[in-house]
Amino acid sequence: MPLSRRDLLCGVSAATAGFAFGRPAWTATASPNDVRQIPSTQTPVPVIGLGSWITFNVGDDPALLEQCADVIAAFAEEGGGMIDCSPMYGSSPDTIGYGLERLEDPSTIFSAEKVWTSAPGEGPDQIARSAEKWGVSNFDLLQVHNLRAWEAHLDHLFSMKDAGRLGHVGVTTSHGRRHETLERIMRAHPIDVVQLTYNAFDREAEARLLPLAQDRGIAVIVNRPYRRGALIDRFRGAPLPGWAPEIGADSWAQVLLKFAISHPAVTTAIPATRKVAHLRENKAAARGPLPNAALRRRIADDLSRL
């Protein structure tokens, strides 16, 4: 659901975003493709976010911590957006905290964490520890990671949201797993956000989940847009297809990302990277034209044949 500039400016002023860091300041130069809305709260979110699995799990390696902080700084400079993490990702929450601390203005960052434990009683403590690592008092979004003990965790997250201690509630899955359960949750619970895997090769979500998200006004976060880099490796060295200039794609990464974010149900995609150049390339994928429905079909066909 791309926004017009007018929508965007109204949306920003009315938004409840920036829950963790204060009101966001998305640039007036943002193109309509750059920023979308979380339907339930009208919160604007830049369409290209940042994942943190593996890439930000660097322990206390000073050189790699600096590298990650540079990526977060470049992300903020490029307009910011959603940074996604989980207590499952090793030292990634600490790395994010390290990077955020160095930002002069973190207000463009939309903080998305997860709760990941089979013991529902441990959820609140885990969330508190994550907040401490990030250096925030509240999160913009908390998601039940991989639907683990989702019923009990959702109860807690909804109560946090009601108490004004949380911006949005969501659930996640990946690799096409447990889509039936996800569908049931989307139908039965007032979640704001759903996170799932979607790219030109993993398209199961197109059949039911993405249309359902549109129907029910649930924002969609796309994880694994590059299948953890495997899709980029697959096309490395191959010439870009003839239609790439039509969508302003300069690289295979941008082709893949433009495909994912051009689905009308998608709110944001969260590619992970530890390289500033890749971060900028990913951010640039939101600028310029996106493929229409006909070209999307062609892209999926052509890529599956390559």
Binding site: I54, T55, N57, V58, G59, D60, D61, A63, L64, Y89, G90, S91, H175, G176, R177, R178, R228
Partner: protein, 226 residues
Amino acid sequence: MGTWLTYAPGDFLMFGPEVYWRLFELQNRALWPLPAIVGLAGVACLLLVATRRPVAIRSVLMLAALACLGAAHFLATRYAPINAPMVYAAWGFGLQALVMTIVAVIGSRNLSDRDGAAATATGWALLGYATILHPFVGLAFGRPLAQAELVGIAPDPTALACLGVLSLVWPGRWGIAWSAIPFLWCVFSAATLRTLGEPQGWVLIAALLLWFLGRSTFVFIPRGRA
């Protein structure tokens, strides 16, 4: 159960190769000049074993116990922050330190025993590889010497050295039992390296095969023919 079948080994990977190899560089730097000392101590151990004297063998076993504690320290302080279950592996190496101490106390065999010739050869090969060659193997795969994995600091060469020493001093079935922890570690580490796409995983697999062959000739072939 159905969902678990959809997971591939790579889905359990928590970190990338660069982060992994840099752990050794950071540890070597933090402990310097210990890496130089343990490198020399490894060579000294080979010389001690060559003397075949019980007191020398016992000293090597005690040094191997110390090396296990060094590897446990690496696992707990460097590896666990990027891979939480490594805390259990650290306890495992702690336990192996105890095993090596027990073996040092309760005995070692006569190294000229012809019945254990294959196990002895394997033991020499593994101990020699772990102490002398393994620190340099990274160079062959394009990594700097600063990331060298050394016995007593890094878990892989420490585990291989334990397998080697135990093959030398205890070639029978009990020797296999004493080797369980380093063996399991090497299997885990080889799987991790292969999942990371690192060819060095094959080196560990080759070392494990060698260990298995050396051991099986002693344990499974009737005495006098091995």
